[in-house]
Amino acid sequence: MAPILEISDLSVAYRSEGGDVHAVEHVSLTLNAGEVVGLCGESGSGKSTLAYGATRLLRPPALITSGSVRYSGRRITQGGEPADILAMSHRELARIRWREVAIVFQSAMNALNPVLRVQDQILDAVTAHLKLPRHEAKEKAASLLDLVGIPRNRLRAYPHELSGGMRQRVMIAMALAADPDVVIMDEPTTALDVVVQRDILAQIVELKETLGFSILFITHDLSLLLELADRIAVMYAGRLMETGSSQELMREPAHPYTRGLLNSFPSLHGAKRQLVGIPGVPPDLRDAKPGCPFIPRCGYAIDACSAVDMSLARVPGTPALAGHLTACPIVTPQVSAPDGAKQASQEGVAS
């Protein structure tokens, strides 16, 4: 699988009078073609900042302090290098957005203008980015609704005449209007009940299969990702804690934080057990202490934890190709040694 969006060593800070808030710290994440990567973490862990920072949608006082973001969609790379999103100008970004990288925003269903018909809003998006003649654009709008399973006669409906799930589908349809290679979904199902949520997720998977885009799926709901995603990245306090395929993550979570998350929701199978959850609150991102940010809440912390540089290393006993990586020095003792760390982080970027 060819990488399509490569985020490497990305750091994003919010400048404030009390010092920089390091919302994302040296995060590397690769999205391959046709893959669903889930990004999960609790509120304020930097998952949305990571996605919006990589697409350069953050407003001041946000500032990208290091890293690179390389995009190599099929329309961009024909006989060329991957494009560096961080080096792009305003105009170049405008061409990338929506046509190449589309985003379904958090609480997107409230993003529809209540006084315009659904059709007009889809047409706005279509004509702004595709330059189609009027009748073709209309046909395109109708076919987009087909795509997400909304009857064509709803084109002339106003947003308040649609249910929450339908509005969310409209937003997804709009994101897919220009046939993007990458779709970033920021908690697209948060405000919906589980039945509608399931419907929409099934739809997303189906669309992904037919249209062949990749998804970066942001959510705080790890249980949802276990079903949906090919690979999962777990974030905490602006850092990647663990990445791996969803099966591996579910079966053998390496990082104590991932284990904590997995213990926070009940399993449908197996014996009844007490849910544990993770005690404590996330740290203040303003004065980052060296080492693992999870130490205060971690039941397993050892001395090496406060010295670890939080680069990802392969979990011992897993095949190198599987790409099950973690930043926890308890699981991967070699990380705490400086030399091993270098090598391991290289591996992490490459996979």
């Binding site: 407003r59 946000a62 500032l63 494009a83 560096d84 046509r99």
Partner: protein
């Protein structure tokens, strides 16, 4: 909302936009002049000196009038009288419009119908003819008559706006909740409702003061007040009657006119500043932010630190945009889309 309005004073001052700071400074200067002016004025405003129609000098900083009165003293007294009048009108109008607006929206029903009817009737009265007729009749009553008449005509606008805002807030859940917990109506109005309208009320107050200054100066200028009391308007009235303009005595009308203009400017600046203070969202989305020493617009892509540091500034990058290298860079990324 509540916390943003009642933050510590220093914090509010730091967050104020520049124009509001200028407005506060300018208005503060005139308030100071109004307070200490009559104490420090070198002559009595009506008192005559041997120098007539004299240009500004060390004895008479703003010159003298045709009858030898000191213009500086007149202006200092005038600022006090005009500000006094305007602030009085502002307070009366604001109190009346809040009372009527909130009552009519909060009580609803027949109260709303009656109060809205009165408001609308006052709204459609053409103010200027009425002002001229009333003040022509009452002109010897001095400032009080002007205050009463301006207040009478000034309140309906504020009342309408506040009524609309109250209607919107009254429908919110926290009002229902406080009613369910048994709070009395006056308590709901004073502690739940009004704090949400502070910025609106403040803006309405500032606007009214502005209106009162403009109207009172204009009315005094045409002689519809007690012309023997020194306000900024009567200074201009006497300058006009004694043909200061044709006599070339610019020092007679410029200080008073400038004072009116500057007070007006300060109030406008203050008003837009209050607006942004009341709704921080307005402040966040407007204008540029400074990140790492560079101005960034809200619509700009997220800045990258390395590029900001390598940036040559606005002029530099403008010049650089003509270079061949930047042309190549500009097309390299897009490919054939």
């Amino acid at each position: 909302m509540k916390s943003s309005v009642f933050r510590s004073g220093a914090n509010i001052w730091r967050n104020l936009p520049l124009k509001a700071k200028v407005g506060v400074g300018l208005f503060g200067f005139f308030v100071l002049a109004a307070i200490i002016g009559p104490q420090v004025q070198p002559y009595t405003p009506g008192g005559q000196t041997p120098l007539t129609m004299a240009a500004p000098s060390a004895q008479h900083w703003f010159g003298t009038t045709q009858t030898g009165q000191d213009v500086l003293s007149q202006v200092l007294t005038g600022i006090r009288l005009t500000l006094e009048l305007a602030l009085m009108v502002g307070v009366i109008v604001t109190v009346v419009s809040v009372l009527i607006g909130v009552t009519s929206a909060f009580l609803g029903g027949i109260w709303d119908d009656v109060l809205s009817l009165i408001t609308n009737v006052f709204l459609v009265i053409p103010p200027l003819p009425l002002l001229i007729v009333l003040l022509g009749y009452l002109s010897q009553q001095g400032q009080t008559a002007t205050v009463v008449v301006l207040s009478l005509l000034g309140w309906p606008w504020g009342a309408r706006v506040i009524r609309a805002q109250t209607l919107a807030i009254r429908g919110r859940d926290f009002i229902d909740a406080s009613r369910e917990t048994g709070e009395k109506s006056w308590r709901i109005i004073v502690f739940e409702l009004i704090p949400n309208e502070v910025s609106l009320i403040a803006a309405s107050f500032v606007n009214t003061v502005l209106y009162a200054i403009g109207a009172s100066v204009a009315l005094a200028f045409v002689g519809l007040t007690n012309v023997n009391a020194w306000s900024l308007g009567t200074v201009l009235y006497w300058a006009q009657t004694d043909s200061a303009l044709s006599g070339g005595a610019w020092w007679w009308f410029v200080p008073a006119g400038l004072a009116v203009a500057l007070i007006g400017t300060s109030l406008v600046l203050l008003n837009s500043g209050l607006d942004e203070l009341g709704s921080p969202r307005l402040r966040a989305t407007r204008g540029t932010a400074k990140v790492a020493g560079h101005r960034i617009w809200p619509t700009d892509p997220t800045p990258v630190l390395a590029q900001l540091e390598a940036d040559h500034g606005r002029l530099g990058s403008f010049l650089r945009s003509f270079s061949r290298r930047s042309l190549l860079e500009g097309t390299a990324v897009g490919g054939d889309l």
